[in-house]
Symmetry: C2
Subunit: 140 residues, 2 copies
């Protein structure tokens, strides 16, 4: 079977589990697209344009998603001291809370995968995928 499709199956399984955990923790208004963007927010805040680039969407799309995240209280926008045009998107407390839940769910799923593949097999999988980023990820 096609390697790309195999990656997709694993990826989707992870995504479904994480979103389920997040929803069960009470954050039932968060969508996948919002989560994907929010996952790129750095500890000191990140500019919209940078988020758009990394998530590989247009800045309009990124702006649309950040609007929603802001309205739902997950992030805030603060002026960027380094550039008056720009604003930094930062995690709000509610955002930090959901990140914690997501990280935990990720760890749980990875542990499950490790039980299935073995420690060695999982390490190899991670190494192979990480190495692949060098030729597949423009933002590696």
């Amino acid at each position: 079977m096609n390697l790309g499709l195999l990656c997709f199956i694993a990826y989707r399984a992870m995504e479904v589990e994480v979103m389920k955990a997040v929803a069960e923790a009470g954050f039932d208004d968060l969508t996948v697209a919002q989560g994907r963007l929010a996952a790129r927010i750095g500890p000191e805040g990140t500019r919209l344009t940078e988020l758009a680039e990394q998530a590989q969407v247009t800045k309009q799309t990124a702006g649309f998603l950040v609007d929603q995240l802001e309205r739902a209280g997950y992030v805030t926008r603060t002026p960027d001291p380094a550039d008056a045009r720009a604003r930094l998107v930062r995690m709000a407390p509610r955002g930090e809370a959901v990140v914690a839940v997501a990280r935990q769910a990720e760890a749980r799923v990875e542990a499950e995968w490790t039980r299935h593949l073995g420690k060695r097999g999982t390490a190899q999988l991670r190494a192979a995928l990480t190495s692949l980023r060098e030729i597949t990820d423009p933002y590696a």
Copy 2:
């Protein structure tokens, strides 16, 4: 880094390459969603409901996509001899042609990955992902 996200990066790289090859071959009206659905059509044709299940979308969505594929000449709908309610979605010649292009692009990308990871590494990657399907793919 999160294993799920690593899978996503590789998957998207493959998808982008395949869609680019397909578009360059003149099939520039095919979308990703249509392709994902069409990839599930079996040699003898497949029922709409079955396609929907396997692609994990509702049958309404599947019907919508098959409408488009039919209008563009990629597939045909024929009555299912086994059940007068059902119809079989089958590949049309134009559909077969695009499948051939897609398969070729997939093979090319996999070859590139193999050059990067080595034969052994690629085989391990495939083995790990295939094994993972046992716990991540409800339609394995």
